[in-house]
Symmetry: C2
Subunit: 358 residues, 2 copies
């Protein structure tokens, strides 16, 4: 098990200035690099406190690349539906070069109606735009004189500059696939997987992983390359009550940010997003204690969090990369730094076979 | 007169790996920050050695922001025709925050047929897309709940996150306006101007500045804010012959890069780009010595370059910012560093009233 960090801001103007938020995240990224963490990732979202401080993850990650030397750098995710593939492939290739080959690229479909509306993209096209965008980026990275004929974009022959450092291209991840078809497609195409345990039941998680790994193996690929990223909010302190206190505080604010962002699902439905209407129903949302009990949040002392990670490994198997959802912005930099240090210095050394992790 | 640096790569895979090129430019940017230079800028281009290592200037500039503390950071330029305004305004707002309010935004129309073709954008729409894109970005930066109804993009009401540090928005520049109408429009709208003396005659330059400054003043604006950036290739050494030798070497390679990028003007014409067909005719292009004689390249010893800058000031007046076109990638980092140091340490102190410049 490897362990890294995802920054998913849920603060807005009233909470913390973006310049301060970025400064804090950069300082935490430098610390994570020094402590040996596996990766730094960040998201792409717009307009709402839910991720809105990160409309372009590549911009923030280029700053991380400039300040760090060994930690991997990842999108979580970029949205092909909102950016022309030449632009998207180009800036990601720049980031792979700026980081000397440390880039992991996760692509996502997006799921917020207001974002699609603002970009003038019908939600019903999102899967096709996702598939086409990923295919176009991979083609631009892999080959020269690329001629691409898609439904939404056609171009070529062109040769993208710069070429990526990692050949034929940086590792590609598919993020948050809720549908089993998506998991199967990801495995068949040799894409890695990012899942969010917080929004899936244990049974859904295990079924998604089974389908994904079977498709990966059926395509004749080496099972040990089928890396899966799992995202978990994480709060560690020497005193369990202190960890729960900050976790509960943060979780409530994250919940409020999600509620505002998904409220438009109360007036929208899309056959491409079955069941998403329910997102607007806040009564269905679990609280901190319920999520902690279901192992969907990592919180407590170094000892109890180590037990939680052992449970994650038991339930979900090999080749796992745990990404700590850290520093949404509501806690202080010191509180997030404490979690980072305790995880690296006390949790990880106690995990079986995890020495190489953090 | 203030003095800064523009990185305009003209190297490709055969010349220098992009990762090495970025490393060298970042090191030069850190040095420029320490030496007191005014700005670091870079370009947006695709596919060709002519700027192709910089398909997304914001990505590189975010790395510069992370490594520097006081130098201003600028696009030179970004192309609204190739990026959705929500995306463009969002990542520039991130950069303004990452740099703590050090961003200058120059917008350009673009002029390479192959770039327009790849993005599926008709060249004849370029002026309208430029105007609309600049207007949309400014609206997103200035206001909340923006409703925008354009020919190419409509959206809103949306509130962009993050908000820019500089209010109501970062300084806006219009780059390389060849037409007097563009210069007049820039002055009327309160946009600053970026001109490239290398592609205009002395008379054209003076006429452009006259029209721009008159429009600025006619709009009731303070003339001392009408800042104009002028870009000059620059090569300085203690031995003039050495400066000419590296200048000639670099200029020839820059010329070859331009020739490849503009060759499609031999088969294209657009009423929106009158006269551009001639760009494909390499016989019309001046050589290094001719450009040096016409003061379109700064090259020589600290003393002779100081004289050249005095000529620039005499010809083009007040509020000038000279941007040194440095490190296209064909020279060594040491050669570019020498130019930077000699300019800051020997040229600038000898300029009248230029002490605050570099």
């Amino acid at each position: 098990m490897k362990i890294g960090v995802t920054f998913f801001p849920t603060v807005g103007l009233q909470d913390k200035a973006a310049s301060q938020y970025y400064d804090e995240c950069l300082a935490l990224a430098v610390l994570a690099d020094e402590l040996g963490y596996h990766h730094i990732k960040t998201v792409e979202h717009y307009f709402f406190t839910y991720g809105g401080y990160s409309p372009d993850p590549v911009t923030f990650l280029a700053a991380v690349a400039a300040r760090t030397t060994r930690i991997r750098i990842g999108t979580s995710a970029v949205i092909p539906a909102f950016t022309h593939p030449i632009k998207l492939a180009g800036k990601l290739a720049m980031l792979d070069n700026l980081s000397h080959g440390r880039l992991d690229v996760a692509f996502g479909r997006a799921f917020l109606p207001d974002e699609f509306e603002a970009f003038g993209v019908p939600m019903d096209e999102s899967r096709e735009r996702f598939d086409e965008g990923v295919e176009a980026c991979k083609a631009l990275w892999e080959s020269e004189n690329v001629r691409f004929e898609g439904r939404f974009h056609s171009f070529g022959p062109v040769t993208l500059l710069p070429r990526t450092v990692q050949r034929p291209h940086p590792p590609v991840y598919v993020t948050s696939a809720r549908s089993l078809d998506s998991c199967k497609a990801a495995g068949s195409l040799g894409h890695r997987l990012q899942l969010v345990p917080g929004i899936l039941s244990l049974e859904q998680m295990q079924e998604a992983l089974r389908v994904y790994r079977a498709a990966w193996a059926d395509a004749g690929r080496d099972p040990s390359d089928a890396e899966v990223h799992l995202g978990y909010p994480c709060y560690i302190a020497d005193d369990a009550e202190e960890a729960y206190r900050i976790g509960r505080y943060d979780d409530e604010r994250n919940g409020a940010a999600i509620s505002a962002a998904v409220s438009s699902w109360g007036r929208v439905s899309s056959s491409s997003y079955p069941g998403y209407e329910k997102l607007a129903d806040t009564r269905l949302r679990a609280g901190f204690d319920q999520k902690l009990a279901k192992n969907k949040i990592l919180a407590g002392t170094p000892e109890t969090v180590a037990q939680q990670l052992a449970t994650v490994a038991n339930r979900f198997g090999d080749n796992l990369v745990v990404s700590l959802n850290l520093h949404s912005g509501h806690l202080s930099q010191q509180e997030s730094e404490r979690t980072l240090r305790l995880m690296a210095e006390q949790v990880v050394p106690s995990l079986p076979g995890a020495r190489s992790a953090v």
